[in-house]
Symmetry: C2
Subunit: 563 residues, 2 copies
Amino acid sequence: MYRTHNCGELNILDINKKVILSGWVHNIRILKKYIFIDLRDYYGITKLFIKKKYYLFKINNEYLIRIKGIVKKKNKNNIEVHVYKINIINKSKILPFNINSNGIPKVSKKLRLKYRYLDIRRKVIKDNLIKRSNIINKIRQYFLKKKFIELETPLLVNNTIEGARNFIIPSRNFKGKFYSLPQSPQIFKQLLMIGGIDKYFQIAKCFRDEDLRKDRQTEFLQLDIEISFINKIKNIIKLIEKFIKYIFKKFYNQRIIRFKKIKYNKAIKKYNTDKPNLINKIYNINIKIKKIKKKYNILSFILPNFLNIKNFKINKIIKIINIIFKKKYKKILIINNKNKYNNNFKKKKILNIIKKKFFSEYDILIIIIYNNNLKINKNKIFDKINKLLYNEAIYKKNILIPIWIINFPLFKYNIKNKKYYSYHHPFTCPIINNNKLSYKNYSKSYDLVINGIEIASGSIRINNYKLQKKIFNLLKIKKENINKNFKFFLNALKYGVPPHGGIGIGIDRLILLLLNKKDIKNLIPFPKNYYNKDIMLNSPSKINNNYLFKLGIKIIKKNKIYK
Amino acid sequence: MYRTHNCGELNILDINKKVILSGWVHNIRILKKYIFIDLRDYYGITKLFIKKKYYLFKINNEYLIRIKGIVKKKNKNNIEVHVYKINIINKSKILPFNINSNGIPKVSKKLRLKYRYLDIRRKVIKDNLIKRSNIINKIRQYFLKKKFIELETPLLVNNTIEGARNFIIPSRNFKGKFYSLPQSPQIFKQLLMIGGIDKYFQIAKCFRDEDLRKDRQTEFLQLDIEISFINKIKNIIKLIEKFIKYIFKKFYNQRIIRFKKIKYNKAIKKYNTDKPNLINKIYNINIKIKKIKKKYNILSFILPNFLNIKNFKINKIIKIINIIFKKKYKKILIINNKNKYNNNFKKKKILNIIKKKFFSEYDILIIIIYNNNLKINKNKIFDKINKLLYNEAIYKKNILIPIWIINFPLFKYNIKNKKYYSYHHPFTCPIINNNKLSYKNYSKSYDLVINGIEIASGSIRINNYKLQKKIFNLLKIKKENINKNFKFFLNALKYGVPPHGGIGIGIDRLILLLLNKKDIKNLIPFPKNYYNKDIMLNSPSKINNNYLFKLGIKIIKKNKIYK
């Protein structure tokens, strides 16, 4: 028997029990008469107290041992196990990096990926994986409770995309032909709606052959959702807002009070991006408000609307801004829409303009009006103020400001090859006024961006054969390509297709935000590196020619562009 | 608004409510003054009653319509909606097959696969998918409750197998190299154990490039399980028996009273297969028991041990066996181990031999002793008796007789190429006596077979570097292959690896048994055909040469061996 208890469960109530424990030697301290071991397993750490006479074999860190002992009181709240027998189950080499301290091992990320199975032994990575498992389960239960049906769709599908971003798979039975791994279950979930399924979801593996980013892996999980008998953006938005609020409240009690929503065009004008990070926003109001006289520069720092600033903290902010500006500032104002805080600014006119412009969106502003001659590095000031607010816990940790970007253009133009592409995908329902459909139309689409990260993307779909065909025509997809890839789908649109729409939510990014982490690789059991390489497996790798021959293909080009 | 209610929820309590419904025209009957429509959606069917004056457009089956109406009593328990407004949301072509009757459409299976999205509208397929979703969710909840952690493992992995049964994927970043789709998460789940994860499970997509069978698709789901700190077969068997009992009780109340267990060698001797179907077993005892005199042929039909046969049914069996044998039989005996039934056979000696031989395993036998001169088709007789028992409900529907086959050989020999292969896989822990390891060893392995279908397969794994290396050597895997594919894994075995073991359970087959179905294709949202072809998508398909060029490969052989 390996254990009567695990290393996480013994406590004061177990005193004088005889126990068997198995686990890894997390720490060992050898004194003259005694040996102290922290024994670790999946569940926790138990302290062992061993008299020299029972320590018969040399034991190092990460040795897997089994001990017999008796639970004893260590102090008021803690126990230790007095060991009278030790077996070594399995020895261990010295690890390539330390896993028994709390910090990140001081080795390259590459080395940690190579020994991923050891990195997983670290508490922080293990805890991430446990949280990941919990979050995904909660997501699943949420939608099952709402009577969604979870169905899995195929991973060996057809390649429908022209650009080389799909992974393809040679077929043995049909040599010269290929499967493809899906970038999303888009077509299948629409077919499920056509098949009369009302509310579908799936936590789907998706694939995109791109160089990685910190917030995306080449194989990633997508919470894929589709609903029938809806034709309005708000139907999905409402559902997802509820879900996002639920999941952020459930995990680490993060509140999201208010979702913003803005049309794509306005977002571009206002933020110069369709992925605005509203939490890190600094405005040079000087540029924005023309009526303000030139002798002032005004720098405005916006706080998220759900925070309460208490007066004593405001004084601290003012003090520190003084330091930042070396007292050369002109005036600091901290105001809210009830004029509650230090609002002794005399230029009422300017104040009113500022209020009018921003209070529709934000409740609290810090406005710094400074001398025009003063040369300042605005970003530096922002960073300092940000840090200050963060340290003062005026920012709650993990503030989230979600914003919906809606009504994207239906098409985007590629200047290089002078072609039009779908902004989202060709199944997105256009917004049609006066019966006109051209490259200038907008679409019933919506992306959810939280703190500058695109979390979700979706649209109402086309459920009309003729409209779908028009879109393909506008995209100038060759007739043979339509026949090859979309003919069956166009045909499916002839059989009483319900109005429907849906969304795909990036699970890995959602978890990234939920756990307030920066690198998605720490949240995935076995991640790949930035170049889609699995450092541990050394994958991808060579395949012998005989194998390739049986699949009817041959290598014509080799490279090693990445290490 | 598309609906105030769905088509499954209105009842007597809703009478006189104004409602809006949307759905498909399941059936339409046009009389002189009235029109009757069965309106169908995901949730059910509602009957519509329409006066001619409201029927303004021609409506056919599968048109998607929206109606406004008032709920009225139809008879004591049922309602119908009296319609005063109809909108056609979307028209429908005439379907390629009928979906509004209960039977299987009288068209080819191929046509149904081509129009899978329409086949899904059929109640039986839709219900299968709902049940599938429920079952998979219950499986998940079962293991989560038992504190297993669910983790997903990569699908873009290394190809480690020599035979061409893995799908491979050319890498764009590393031209000339390939990923592979996993046949199972075997290595990863072992690495998770090495990483200190205690109890893992996953409902994993797995891939095998083989021609399909009725009970397997080329991409399939596996309930993948691995546990640390165990080294005995019984640890896993106990867990899985509990689970199987739970899931069969939960779904359709199917009882499994007793699991059998037999060593591989004995199974081969006794059943001549390692996948015995104990429910359909007929013995020619004449062959088996040498002591019985030649003048009798004895055919024995064995009933599963958990059935109760009542006397009146036994008489019926005897009567029907009389008919089958045209009264030429010698003697029918129906006996149980308490000699409760018609046990008037005089040859006590023979009877005792038979009992001794079979009552260790079965409680009830039907033994037919017939004249040696009588030529009979044993299989035909078996079929007839089987049908009889089934019709008489002596078989409960969906009887399940599970049997564990344990201690498989560690290796199997391929006569053709004179090579040894692992019977399961090279990570299976051998049973070692007297420190001897050779091609003759057995292993700590177990398959679960239910009614002749292999449902699960697993083993205790090797957790010792030297032993693992010995196995690779016995398999005569080339050093370069070990270095390429298994070096990292051998290395991982040096870091205090816990004893561990696990199992993989075929989800699709489990569902097949749970729902008492024959063809797995009816239980999967979008199945492929026997040749791994997706008839609907027409996948696999051609890829243009430019695309292939960018991936560094070229087609050298084309074929169309299958339609």
